[in-house]
């Protein structure tokens, strides 16, 4: 389907004959500009970095390492969170045995 459309389009373009004078070096100038832009893009830090990351990401070791770090981080967050919950339970216990805290809470 796409090939048919391409053929049709090429046919129309071949028949199209604009009456414009094209400079002699037009084609090579266009390619030079494309090459210069491509080079400028590839020389940016972001492009190099993303290229490097992309290359690394195809290595299984990278996937294992990333997942391991994420799991360790998840464990850390989980235990941090439970430590906070335990701190709340400690506070609850202290409040239950301290008559001064209970009196303050009763008055507020």
């Amino acid at each position: 389907m796409k090939n048919d459309l391409d053929k049709k389009l090429h046919g129309i373009l071949d028949k199209w004959n604009p009456d414009i004078a094209i400079p002699g070096r037009f084609r090579s100038d266009v390619w030079t500009m494309i090459a210069a832009r491509q080079e400028a893009r590839e020389s940016t830090l972001w492009f190099q970095l993303s290229n490097l990351i992309e290359q690394f990401s195809f290595k299984p070791a990278f996937a294992y390492a990333t997942c391991t770090i994420a799991i360790v981080f998840g464990l850390f967050i989980g235990f941090q969170q439970t430590a906070r919950i335990q701190e709340q339970f400690k506070s609850h216990y202290v409040q239950s045995v301290d008559p001064y805290v209970q009196t303050v809470r009763g008055n507020s």
Binding site: I71, G74, L75, F89, V94, T103, V104
Partner: protein, 147 residues
């Protein structure tokens, strides 16, 4: 970058699932309405010791309620004397002394309770427990409940 994004997404999901699992498993072990939940988790008491601590706690709670009434009475007496006077009178002095006496009584009862609970723990746990509970008696300003 699509491949990298997929790995990152997978890693983030794994991290989130791990964190959620830890929180879920840990919170499953806790009854959040139990006053002794902290003691149970922190000091890993077996059922026999926990039952004894619970008995001590229940006995102490009736004393604690009595102390609350005493604190409230002595405080309101002092409050009303202060409000009705413009200088320190012998009655105010006596009310201040009464508040201090109630406080001493309360601290002594709390300490007695803390000692009895600590006897149900392993010696190293008892030390940690006593250190934590001493904050209620020695440094009232840093009580977790008042923060």
């Amino acid at each position: 970058m699509k491949h990298f994004a997929k790995i990152l997404l997978l890693a983030l999901s794994l991290g989130a699932i791990t964190a959620a699992l830890v929180i879920f498993v840990k919170s499953k072990q806790i009854d959040d309405k139990d006053d002794l939940a902290w003691i149970k988790i922190q000091f890993n008491l077996d059922q026999e010791h926990l039952n004894r601590v619970r008995k001590l706690h229940d006995d102490y709670m009736s004393k604690c309620t009595e102390m609350c009434v005493k604190i409230e009475n002595s405080n309101s007496k002092l409050r009303s004397l202060v409000a009705n006077n413009s200088q320190v009178t012998p009655e105010i002095e006596s009310a201040i002394k009464e508040c201090a006496t109630v406080q001493t009584e309360c601290h002594a009862s709390m300490l007695e309770y803390f000692y009895s609970v600590s006897k149900e723990m392993k010696p190293e746990d008892a030390k940690v427990y006593m250190n934590e509970m001493m904050k209620c008696i020695v440094q009232p300003a840093s009580r977790p409940g008042l923060r």
